[in-house]
Subunit: 647 residues, 2 copies
């Protein structure tokens, strides 16, 4: 019994786009949508469906451009400060304010400053004026019949103002493409339903998945000018999926089915789309996003996007975005690109265009691109991404230090204001990210462990590293490692916080564990962290201090790679206790028994520490707002925050 | 009787900003607004009011990452293609689909491709797996309690997805700053009212002005994240203005009064704001935008913006934008900047920071900035602007060819795809702008007359020039001028259209004018165009051909500078007839009597003509869509469009 039904194609990206367009063309769907007339006050960001011609000139009359008297210029000749000229009010001169229509026969304005009132009927002027001086002639700004805004313009506020000035109260804009977004999967639960169930004590179970792709996809559709409909999840049944698609076709211009696009037993999307129209492409040689379906259904463009969020977002960008722009009569603008230095070696399979999400930051003048987790399921890699590098299908990857072209996903100004932190993760750093934002900085942090952070400083890939490295010889934190690994750098070691490590145990601490020695009690099953991790080093150091033999601890050999994996082992009952931070306990509703306090510092090369970029960070460490926020996380002591530690 | 009441200050820009902030600080209004909880589906583009922490891990259980069988990795050791290993279903192996929870005890998945079903209870595997292979461990993407999005982030679609994945259905975002926009001026008519009056035959009169600034300002407020209220125009009465502001204070966070900010007889804004709070600044040393008022009223920040649209938009950008960002807890991002070459000399007064709007385009590798009309009343200069150059207050300006820093008002990609046209204006060019947009190009056209266009080609400031220059010696169009002015350039002269010039006369042509000679009829009052204009050259050439003495024409000496000014003179009855194009007649509802056909060509250096940038334009000249659009303008003959003319 092979549970696979058929295999996907491996079409090259441009071939896939061409086939998709051809399929839409065959059903006559590749032209811009009709125009509709909307009031100007609702037209911002809409796209003009026709050129807008001026119906009126601006100004629509010759207007005074100054407060003063309107005159015929010829009558003012020779007037000066020393030989003023007398004019009869009403006949030769008429008072006007700025914006007033010029009286018949008048062709200039003498500024009020140059007018002296002699009596009720006479004024004297102390300056001559040239014809049309201080007059806004009719049509100076806009001439009736001239072009105000061409077709195919996304309307900005100033465009709306000009269209109103030119005599219109409405404007013809392209109808917004209506996009049905249909999540499929029996396991899906909407965020709203999950919150309701949580509130009544029936939280989402293992195997159930929160359906959040449709939020991402509909947000993207809105950004691109479309009108999304986020439909409820459809269970994995071919008849139901078919019925939902058929009904959506009537009221939408584009159909997007999310998931079920692969070739598994419960992947019905391709089958249903083929029944209702044509599957032009099934499988594109891209990573992530390979199992994408492109075709038409019921005469409308239809896409089956893969279920993993990163794949769904990327394939929407590659195939849905150009389509929506086309329906709006626009060419999708290319994203801005930068050249950056890649901080790590990046292998990529031949034969696939790979899109790698990266963070970006400028360190020592170089723009550094650090690849993010490449798993298609990692939604946080979308959140953290500053840009996207494309590794072409004929390349096997990039070596560290290579130059790479990166499409920007964030404003360049924001990237230039980024403080790059690499090292051990800590919640206090997460909080710091919020606080530096108020000062116009962005903190981008990559979690590669303390040693990884110091190595990043050595390679000049980061501004600072978060470190908590225990020297097992001396019990000293961080300083000895810095001396050893970065002998040539002047590093400022700044204390951030002490954080507690302790036992993660089942709620209520049923085995009554309270000290390190309890790990060796018979019947206590321990779960350990991997060798090299800070927590493991701390454990081994403390065991030696207390003279406890690791071989007396059941489970000492069982290694997990994260705080969370340890907590999960305890939660599932596979182990009774692990060593970790209190946040991991809180995350899974476990009890936490504090045992040790470990020092978490920031290691910062002095040239960065004293830079303008880090100035707000230096200050924040001494602000009570940040300190009390860290304290209220629980398990932190901030008394010595900001102190420089001797290296 | 001086009609001025008092004079404005001349505060430097940074001083004005500081005084405004201090005034707001005094009423305790300079902190971010409260948070409010909104559903994720409505939270796009809102700004987080607090960090968002994960309430749930993603995945929240160990999940299969492949379709296949879940196993304990240790039991698979040694399995290969040539020596498969047999496993008991249920005990040692459990079928799982991607996303299924891992059964208790299992820690890896063998892909379906490596599984052969032997019978109902037994499978054979042809590959071994390592622990955690093909498994997504709990928390791989997001660990409960970790930071998903910091405070102060404008939420993007991917952020919404991640927040939902992390177990939330809502998010706390900053309340949008509510901004009351109060237009003042007895002369103001809303676009809606103007359209209604037009429909019933009572169009807007001379002296009345369409109120469109509030459309621009409220669109800007929306772009910056605020919630604008566009109030109806308030007549110039101090008591009314005061009442409207008092009532707006209750329901808004910021008050914006538009116009009445100067120091004229009917400028009440400063007086009223001073009564209701404090005027901190009245008059800033900037151009445009000098008469701006910054202060507080009823405990809320209050701004009095000048009435001219360019001044209103600029002062909103300088003073309102940073305030709104501040209320949202954000730092306003700097606009992207580019360095460009200024195409024309630019004088600027000492003592004022001047903001000059420019168009931008890349010609022969250089980014060229061409200054737009600098009048504060010219709303089209806002529409056409690609960027804004700041001439500092200690500078007297820039010489042509100088480098200047320009803040971008448009995407750089759009600027790089810009075809720069300088020369004589024509409606067919306006239409071309719409057609090239469909092909992903933008056409930026500056109207400086035919000769000005050829000079721009000489200076390499444009890609092409629109020209209609009659050689009065030969009757030939354009070619002789190009030979004379651009002897060293290989210019392709491409025919665009023949356009009709003729008499502009009152509706019904009451004097029955039909041929050039009629201008010399007694009692016919003519209005002429200025010397050097194409129309004047055409007239003089034709008069000579027909042997008509100009001195026989009444009004031959009366010169106007635009087609529209000629039409306006006829409309007002000041003249009976002028020579011009049919569009000018149509614009003012005049009759048009066609007399001559003049050739309008595009002059294009060959290196541009054959460039990738102009490729779509070359093609469009031969498309029937464009040709028939030009024809339907009326007064055009397009039979020879696209033909190259010998130079």
């Amino acid at each position: 019994m092979s549970r696979r039904r058929y295999y996907l194609e491996d079409r090259a990206l441009d071939d896939a786009v061409a086939r998709f367009e051809a399929a839409i063309e065959r059903v006559g769907g590749l032209h811009p949508l009709d125009g509709e007339t909307v009031p100007l006050a609702e037209a911002r960001d809409r796209v003009t469906a026709a050129p807008v011609w001026a119906a009126r000139s601006v100004p629509h009359y010759h207007a005074a451009a100054m407060d003063g008297i309107a005159v015929r210029a010829a009558t003012t000749a020779g007037a000066t400060e020393s030989s003023p000229l007398t004019l009869a009010l009403g006949e030769q001169a008429v008072w006007v304010d700025t914006g007033d229509p010029m009286p018949p026969g008048a062709d200039a304005v003498v500024m009020a400053e140059h007018v002296q009132v002699l009596d009720d009927t006479t004024v004297a002027i102390t300056a001559a004026v040239a014809p049309w001086q201080h007059v806004r002639p009719m049509g100076e700004d806009i001439v009736a019949t001239e072009l105000v805004v061409p077709e195919g313009v996304r309307l900005r506020p100033v465009d709306l103002g000009a269209i109103a000035a030119a005599g219109h109260a409405t404007v013809s804009v392209r109808r917004r493409p209506r996009v049905a977004i249909i999540p499929t999967g029996t396991e899906l639960v909407t965020p709203e339903a999950a919150a309701e169930r949580e509130a009544i004590g029936h939280p989402v179970r293992a195997g159930e998945i929160i359906e959040f792709n449709s939020l991402i996809l509909s947000g993207m559709v809105e950004e691109w000018g479309g009108l999304p409909t986020r439909l409820p999840p459809v269970p994995d049944r071919q008849d139901l999926l078919r019925a939902v698609i058929v009904s959506a076709i009537d009221h939408h211009d584009v159909i997007v089915v999310n998931a079920g696009s692969s070739a598994g037993a419960e992947d019905y999307t391709a089958t249903v789309l083929a029944e209702l129209g044509e599957v032009a492409v099934h499988g594109v040689a891209i990573r992530p996003g390979h199992p994408v379906i492109l075709g038409v259904a019921g005469g409308k463009p239809a896409l089956g996007l893969p279920g993993y969020p990163v794949s769904a977002a990327l394939t929407a960008e590659l195939f849905l975005r150009p389509l929506l722009y086309r329906l709006l009569g626009l060419t999708p603008p290319p994203r801005p690109e930068v050249t950056a230095t890649i901080s790590r070696k990046l292998l990529s399979p031949l034969g696939e265009d790979e899109f790698v999400r990266v963070t970006l930051g400028r360190v020592d003048g170089r723009l550094i691109a650090t690849p993010l987790a490449r798993g298609a399921g990692v939604v946080m890699s979308l959140v953290r991404a500053d840009g996207r590098a494309r590794i072409p299908r004929f390349s096997e990857g990039l070596h560290a230090g290579a130059e790479v072209t990166v499409e920007l996903l964030r404003d360049q100004a924001e990237i230039e204001s980024t403080i790059v932190v690499i090292g051990s993760h800590d919640l206090a750093l997460d909080l710091l990210a919020s606080h530096v934002r108020r000062a116009g900085r962005r903190l981008s942090s990559a979690n590669v462990g303390s040693l990884g952070g110091l190595m990043a400083l050595k390679r000049r890939d980061a501004h600072l590293a978060g470190v908590h490295l225990l020297d097992e010889e001396t019990g000293e934190y961080n300083a000895s490692y810095i001396r050893r690994l970065l002998p040539d750098e002047e590093i400022v070691l700044v204390h951030l916080a002490y954080r507690e490590q302790g036992f993660l145990v089942a709620p209520g601490n049923p085995l009554g564990l309270s000290r390190l020695r309890d790990l060796a009690r018979p019947g206590v099953r321990f779960v350990n962290r991997q060798r090299g991790s800070g927590t493991r080093m701390l454990l081994d150091y403390q065991l030696r201090l207390e003279g406890i033999d690791p071989s007396a601890i059941t489970g000492y050999q069982r290694e997990e790679f994260t705080h969370m994996a340890v907590a999960a082992a305890v939660q599932s009952g596979a182990a009774d206790v692990g060593l970790g931070i209190s946040a991991a306990a809180r995350a899974l509703g476990l009890a936490f028994i504090p045992l040790f306090s470990e020092r978490y510092d920031l290691a910062v090369p002095r040239r960065h520490w004293e830079s303008e970029l880090l100035a707000p960070l230096r200050q924040i460490l001494f602000e009570s707002a940040y300190r009390s926020a860290v304290e209220s996380l629980g398990g932190y002591n901030v008394d010595r925050m900001g102190e420089e530690v001797r290296v």
